[in-house]
């Protein structure tokens, strides 16, 4: 079931959600077996920013009913060390590499795109305009007009496919997708996590009363996993109806049946995020089951 995606030939339609699989980290755990059984048809890196970021203070995780709230805060080495340290390792992966980047101004974004443009290890770039954990001041992804304007200005910096990862925390995601298309995106991906919050359980171990009510070190976080799938499906369906560029659908995919649903409402690719935490190899199983069953009707 090989798929064309923005000119990339992928072995199957299942990729990972940015920030939910670290191919370098996982190699410490699984060794070379990770590469020989690599579960994704393309690998999407965690969001990279210009400057290094330490991420949010712990705790960073909260398990919700059928979901996960995270407040990771986009820890990353920064563009320079990503390029020098990580790219050579990621280039060894048996699949195309999609680098996910985020910037808080058009200039920053353009700089990130220019850097990616020069590196042949990178097959495509995903631009995160949606992460709810970090306050970029303006959340450009939620305002269609602003999104289109920024994309128009940065698009020339990249001669590779540009995927725009939309924010689900907006009034009309289809309108944002249309704006992304107008601004020059070659594809859109969604959904990112839904803005969410958890309170410290009463008498939580080690938690002092004087501390803030919020459990997560970052205050609020983003909800992912099974709980968000109905919302994701609605957003992906609405976006696929509105744009002509390919759509990467994600949010709570746990099985081939779920992947089928996203494909059925118009996604070209499906990304698996939180479910990989439950089983790092789940994406392989999903891909092979999709293959057995053939394309959805």
């Amino acid at each position: 079931m090989s798929v064309d995606f923005c000119g990339l030939r992928l072995a199957h339609p299942i990729i990972n959600g940015s920030g939910t699989f670290d191919a370098i980290g996982a190699r410490h755990a699984f060794g070379d077996a990770l590469h020989s059984a690599f579960p994704f048809a393309a690998f999407v890196s965690k969001t990279i920013t210009l400057a290094p970021r330490a991420g949010n203070p712990p705790p960073r995780l909260w398990e919700a009913q059928a979901g996960l709230i995270n407040s990771i805060g986009l820890p990353n080495k920064g563009l320079e060390r990503y390029m020098s340290e990580d790219l050579p390792e990621l280039a060894q992966l048996p699949v195309p590499l999609i680098t996910n980047v985020m910037g808080s101004t058009a200039e920053e974004i353009a700089e990130l795109l220019r850097a990616c443009d020069t590196r042949k290890e990178i097959a495509a770039v995903e631009l995160n305009v949606s992460c709810p954990n970090v306050h970029t001041g303006l959340d450009i992804g939620a305002d269609p007009a602003q999104l289109e304007r920024v994309l128009r200005s940065v698009r020339p910096a990249l001669r590779k496919p540009l995927i725009v990862k939309l924010t689900p925390n907006c009034a009309d995601v289809a309108e944002c997708a249309r704006a992304a298309q107008e601004g020059g995106a070659d594809a859109v991906s969604l959904i990112n996590t839904l803005r969410a919050m958890a309170l410290a359980p009463a008498g939580a171990h080690g938690r002092e009363r004087s501390q803030s009510l919020a459990w997560l070190g970052g205050g609020t976080g983003g909800l992912s996993g099974a709980a968000v799938r109905p919302v994701a499906l609605a957003q992906v369906a609405a976006v696929a109806r509105r744009v002509s560029i390919p759509v990467v659908g994600m949010g709570g995919v746990q099985s081939a049946a779920h992947a089928h649903q996203f494909l059925a409402v118009g996604a070209r690719l499906v990304a698996v995020g939180t479910e990989s935490f439950r089983d790092p190899a789940v994406a392989s199983r999903i891909a092979s089951q999709l293959d057995d069953e053939g394309p959805p009707t």
Binding site: F21, G55, E63, F277
Partner: protein
Amino acid sequence: MTVNNPTIPAGTDPSRPLAPFGRRLLTVTANKPLGAYRILHAADPDGPAPAAGQFAMLAAAERWGAGEDERPYLPRAFSYARWVAGEAQFLLEDVGPGTHRLCELREGDGLWVLGPLGRGFTAPKDARRALLVGGGVGIAPLAGWQDELGERATVLLGFRDRAHAAGAALLGDALVASDDGSVGRHGLVTDLLRAELDRDAHAGVYACGPPAMLEAVRALCAARAIPAQLALEAGMACGFGACFGCVVPKRDGGYLRICIDGPVVDAAQLDRIGEHAGSPA
């Protein structure tokens, strides 16, 4: 900065045997009470033998959000207490829905296991003795380590009360302290540690337990320049470096992911240990 840069290539570090890629379904062979704890045994005929201090992500095959969901939703991390002849042993304390469900498992039930994960203990490079310091359910990883070190190891354990102190039977021959004085020395396990270090400071410390205990151990060892390896805990979603959820602050800034940079961490890498690194007991 948060990424581990091991000097040893993957697969050749003795403290870090690799996990097969993907979770595997094991069968529970026994689940026995041990005081306030339970010991869960699972047949793991093909699984690589873990190093002491490594852990696994566990989930019950039934009634654990597999397909149709519930909480527990994500798998939970547990130290290998022992791994003997193709059978893994875990020490469990029922503190929430995940541990509760695992405590309920019966012989023949299915258990999803991803592991062995993380980096275990490494033996002292010289002849110094090893002081194994455990608190509560944090004694678990010390069992396999004691097996391996044999006579070189002195074991100091702390528990809140008699029911929990029964867990000491997991290890051989140990000095015990209890918070309520019902068993062994009335006081904290760090009191035992201080006494031991006062007696003979040519030692390496291996500790696992609640954050406050680990912080006391760290501070004690730092003050006396005694090398210490601490088995940390933190909420985990994945266990294999994917989520960046399980972090503890490093001394020199930034964070460690304890699932791949630990759980056993050289105390010198750490600053003060906060409430979110340590076992719940």
